[in-house]
Symmetry: C2
């Protein structure tokens, strides 16, 4: 179920994940910063619908668009693909690259540590469950 959303299209998805349903006009407005023609945005909406990742309900003669896939699911999917394609599945190397190159803030470091602790707890719990 490899979702295929192009880079430009992702910007449209992000808008819809923030808020939906939205009319095409509203989406265009929220994409001001991208500085795309209204036509361009509509093309993307169209393609996204054809790809099955966006749906719409009719509201009179216009459509109200909504995402048809979960953002979390999408992110997980993209991340998986990125790991495989760029790092050939080597998770350690990926983590090292991010941690070392991005100079995590104190805040991000602590957040990540707490994530890791949670994860460890979960692992422990699972081990116990098995026995």
């Amino acid at each position: 179920m490899t979702i295929r959303v192009s880079e430009a299209e992702k910007n449209v998805m992000d808008i819809l994940w923030q808020e939906s349903p939205l009319s095409s006009t509203e989406v265009v407005e929220k994409l001001q910063s991208q500085d795309w023609s209204e036509k361009t945005v509509k093309t993307f909406l169209n393609r996204l619908v054809k790809k099955g990742v966006v749906t719409y309900q009719k509201d009179g003669r216009r459509y109200l668009y909504s995402p048809a896939i979960e953002r979390d699911e999408f992110l997980a999917d993209e991340s998986e693909g990125f790991l495989d394609k760029v790092f050939k599945g080597n998770m350690k190397e990926l983590l090292a690259t991010f941690v070392e190159n991005k100079q995590l803030s104190k805040d991000e470091l602590n957040y990540l540590k707490s994530l890791l602790d949670d994860q460890e707890d979960k692992d422990d719990k699972e081990r116990d469950d098995v026995k």
Copy 2:
């Protein structure tokens, strides 16, 4: 300096990063698993040279190819782009997605923790240096 290497082309880069210089024939051999025609591989080598990410020296009438960019630099670049495009620069969310979805092994968890400790030390050191 946004490097532009397509997905299929990355496989060729990976070979050259493992060992270089290599003749086109050698690259083809090492890409057996991809099950591409020899022609296809040569097309990629050609395109990579045109993109400036691979160079060659002549060896008689054939070329010996080598990467023209560092793997580390490339990975950092791709990671940066991925973070921006998919997670809109939100590092915390990216980390959470990887940590939560990929079920890190005990080993990976420990490795990551040690990375974080190193990072913290570095931060401390830098703070001291400033003063």
